[in-house]
């Protein structure tokens, strides 16, 4: 992904991922941030990566789906934190681009990784945390089901 972003043009040519330590991750709910690293250092993305827990077939829809879990940190507050930050950023920068949310890679096994490599971006879903409804804010884990055709 970083290579694809760097290739978008001069503004992005020095982009880099900035990792967040596990200790600090509990405060902002992010695993990494992507900054441009230029004189005008822009923040493009803040991501929380989730791993698929299972892959199942939905007979009524006729397709596979992957199940992920959110708000599954030990305090069960990660989704609340991400939602608050994402909503604040969105409201503070109307009509501007910044994405704070989830990355849901649809690879559950090494075999799937190998099958789709190197085209991982097509098989990874991104959802801004603020797009989840207020009803998802609580101290419980939630399952997110993503269908292959998403």
């Amino acid at each position: 992904m970083i290579e694809a972003i760097r290739s978008l043009g001069r503004t992005f040519s020095r982009s880099f991922w900035r990792g967040v330590s596990i200790r600090l991750e509990r405060h902002i709910g992010l695993d990494v941030k992507l900054e441009t690293g230029t004189a005008s250092n822009y923040i493009l993305l803040g991501l929380q990566f989730k791993k698929p827990r299972k892959k199942e077939y939905d007979f009524s829809q006729g397709e596979y789906y992957y199940t992920f879990r959110i708000n599954d940190n030990s305090a069960n507050d990660q989704h609340i934190i991400l939602w608050l930050i994402s909503t604040l950023v969105l409201r503070s920068f109307l009509n501007k681009f910044v994405f704070i949310g989830y990355s849901f890679p649809m690879f559950i096994s090494h075999a799937e990784l190998g099958r789709y490599s190197p085209d991982f971006l097509n098989k990874t879903i991104f959802i801004d945390a603020s797009r989840f409804p207020v009803s998802t804010l609580d101290r419980l884990e939630h399952e997110v089901l993503i269908y292959k055709s998403s």
């Binding site: 992904m1 694809a4 972003i5 978008l8 043009g9 503004t11 992005f12 900035r18 600090l24 405060h27 902002i28 941030k33 900054e35 441009t36 005008s40 250092n41 822009y42 923040i43 493009l44 993305l45 803040g46 507050d77 609340i80 608050l84 930050i85 909503t87 604040l88 950023v89 409201r91 503070s92 920068f93 009509n95 501007k96 681009f97 910044v98 994405f99 991982f120 971006l121 097509n122 098989k123 990874t124 879903i125 991104f126 959802i127 801004d128 797009r131 989840f132 409804p133 207020v134 009803s135 998802t136 804010l137 609580d138 101290r139 419980l140 884990e141 939630h142 399952e143 993503i146 998403s150």
Partner: protein, 84 residues
């Protein structure tokens, strides 16, 4: 686990290529500078958001949980972590 189904509108669900396309089509002046985040995101805006959540009948214990985080300086931590 509570069983309640929510469907996210498909226009808010992007694959990696769509996300990249969105970035590539954004004019440079419409990106957010890292230091602007600190200037614009503060605990007063967060408190306003919490008031809205209160009006939307978010559970009292959850509102209190967020307020306690703010009292412990969470917003300062967020700002310092979002900045390099």
């Amino acid at each position: 686990m509570r069983s309640e189904e929510t469907i996210i509108n498909s226009e808010n669900v992007l694959d990696g290529k769509e996300l990249l396309e969105k970035i590539s089509k954004t004019k440079e002046e419409n990106f957010v500078k890292v230091n602007e985040v600190k200037e614009r995101i503060n605990k007063y805006k967060l408190q306003k958001l919490i008031e809205e959540l209160r009006e939307q009948k978010l559970r009292y214990d959850l509102i209190r949980y967020i307020e306690q985080k703010i009292e412990k300086g969470w917003m300062i931590t967020v700002n310092s972590l979002l900045l390099p």
